[in-house]
Amino acid sequence: MNNLHVPEWSFWVMGLALAAFVGMFIQMVRRNKGIRRSFYAWPYTLWMIISTVVPLILIAYYALTDKSGSFTLENFANFWDSNRNMKTELLAQGFNPEELGLGARGTVNVDTLAYSMWMAFLCTGISLLLGYPAALIMADREFRLGSTIVVLFIIPMWMNFLLRTIAWMSLLEDNGLINTLLESLGFGKARLMYNSQAVLLGMVYNYLPFMVFPIYNSLSRQDARLSEAAMDLGANKWKTFWRVVFPISMPGIVSGITMVFMPSVTTFFIPRVLGGGNTEMFGDLIERTFLTADDWNVGSALSLVMMVLILLSLGLLRKVDPEGEGGSLI
């Protein structure tokens, strides 16, 4: 990429952090006083500065500047109206976009964001509905296959995420495994791929473990005597679950929702493989804006918008569960 226009100062920040680290190390060796405990925190801090803090600052920087590097809010306007650049161009060339019938607001970006949020919402909901019973079964002390199921959930995660998603293709394709089976049974082929449902399937498949494990953790840590106490006080199994087991597992649920919702909103690649024409999600849009349209400024603005939305939704979750593990992830 010849157009890596990373501003010079970001290298200065990273360099300075590195220099401070090396400097402290040399000082310590020269004074020969042994390594202080706080020193061990430095490699981590350094890593965070270089790989998280600086990129975050860079995203904000790009989002708020134009190609020449001067401050602007244009990029956010471009997010709101995806045709804005084109219209400016037309105006500059002496055409009136209104007269050409191109005056309408380009809604691609906003629509994609809304679609992504909706898909993430669905994915999180379905994962919760599927994951909670699974976690409940796994955490059941009297069910001996529980630990086996835990392993079954982990094994697919050993495989690469892209590979797992592509594997679904060979199942869902028009000439894939499922359709071949359907046909041989005399049902005829079905359109299983290239639609939102297939994308949702891929998302749930990939993110379900992130829902199951936090819930499983909080359920298996739960004191079995609490359920016994509830039964002792007259609650049958159903009431024991709704009045004791479920509310006490709330931190696990919040944690699971966070862990699934965040990657769901930013999902990319899955829609490209399993989805059709209208299923582009925000992650893909950002990638396309950066790499295909080569517009780092608008791309950063999109990322920033999404980040703010995620933080807002996590803040909402935190309101629901003020002391939960989910909130502390932020």
Partner: protein, 353 residues
């Protein structure tokens, strides 16, 4: 008439975990309004017995009869029994009021009645203004009271208590022992209490059931069990004791430490081996020439109320409790009145010392 006062009967209860027997053929009845304690070392099966009565465990064999009905397979929520759990098991997501109200809410009692009953329970356990507090903000003793209130508010016929005082410090324990006993007498509820603390059992119970290795070793009143333990195990477990191997000469005469002693027990075969129990507080220190045994003081410990002296006499190291101290190394006489010599059938295991 006698039969009617027997509220709970355990008939031939056995329990196995993966083939390992935990309870072996337990037969026991519990009277109405009785304070019954299951006492024994850890692993003796006392908690399992309690859990079977509560419905949390199914016996491998045998029946649980409650008020004339077989409730062996009845789930816990259908039993007229409530439990105070070890470490209390309070609901962490509910406040004090909601914890106590739990059973009433489940039973769909009207709201104003719930409030009234919970408030009166809070009064009973002296935590009147604590309703809105989080349970994890309370001390161990307070949590304990909440757990008791949460069980009692349902007006059970039987209250099961699984080592409820185990986590409290000594002073709090003593206070709670008295309080529990008072509550039981005031409310007229049957208490089944599990503990490994013999002193607790002696203080609170009407009846003590001593358990060992999944069987009942002895049933009786605290006094009976203390004074007439059936075996060296029980004597050792309940109170402090000197247990010596002896030989029955004839009725009311026993030989140990090389001398003959008059006792009050009879019915043992002449010349048969027996275990002899003498409580440390029952040995009287007298002049060296007037005692039944003569011995040397080996060590002296000050225990507050009394001194604990180890005295070697007749080839045995006696533990003696006395309020007057004899210096280490001094020669003393020991005297035991016949009434304080308890003869027991010898056990397989060697007695202590």
């Amino acid at each position: 008439m006698q039969e009617q006062t027997r509220l709970i009967r355990l008939e031939n209860i056995s329990k196995e975990y993966d083939g390992t027997p935990v309870l072996k053929d337990i037969n026991l009845y519990i009277r109405k309004n009785e304070f019954l304690t299951l006492l024994g070392p850890s692993g003796c099966g006392k908690t399992t017995t309690l859990r079977i009565i509560g419905g949390f465990e199914q016996p491998t064999a045998g029946r649980v009869i409650f008020d004339g009905q077989d409730i062996t397979s009845l789930p816990p929520y259908k039993r007229r029994v409530n439990t105070v759990f070890q470490k209390y098991a309070l609901f962490p997501h509910l406040n004090v009021f909601e914890n106590i109200a739990f059973g009433l809410k489940v039973a769909k009692i009207p709201k104003d009645e719930i409030a009234r009953r919970v408030d009166s329970m809070l009064d009973l356990v002296n935590l009147r203004s604590y309703g809105k507090r989080r349970v994890d903000s309370l001390s161990g003793g307070q949590q304990q009271r909440i757990a008791i209130a949460r069980a009692l508010v349902n007006e059970p016929e039987v209250l099961l208590l699984d080592e409820p005082l185990g986590a409290l410090d000594l002073k709090l324990r003593k206070g709670m022992q008295l309080e529990l006993k008072r509550m039981q007498q005031r409310l007229g509820i049957t208490f089944i209490f599990v503990t490994h603390d013999q002193e607790e059992a002696l203080t609170m119970s009407d009846t003590i059931v001593v358990m060992k290795d999944g069987s009942i070793a002895q049933i009786g009143t605290p006094k009976h069990i203390y004074d007439e333990p059936k075996s060296a195990f029980i004597a050792n477990f309940i109170g402090e004791s000197n247990i010596i191997r002896g030989r029955m000469v004839r009725d009311e005469l026993v030989n140990f430490c090389g001398s003959n002693f008059t006792c009050v027990d009879s019915g043992f075969a002449p010349d048969s081996p027996v275990d002899v129990l003498v409580r440390p507080e029952d040995i009287v220190i007298v002049g060296e020439d007037v005692g039944q045994l003569t011995g040397t003081v080996k060590s002296v410990l000050f225990k507050g109320v009394h001194y604990e002296m180890m005295i070697e006499a007749g080839g045995f190291l006696w533990k003696v409790h006395s309020t007057s101290m004899q210096p280490e190394g001094s020669l003393v006489g020991l005297s035991i009145v016949p009434f304080n010599i308890h003869i027991m059938k010898p056990t397989e295991e060697a007695p202590n010392e």
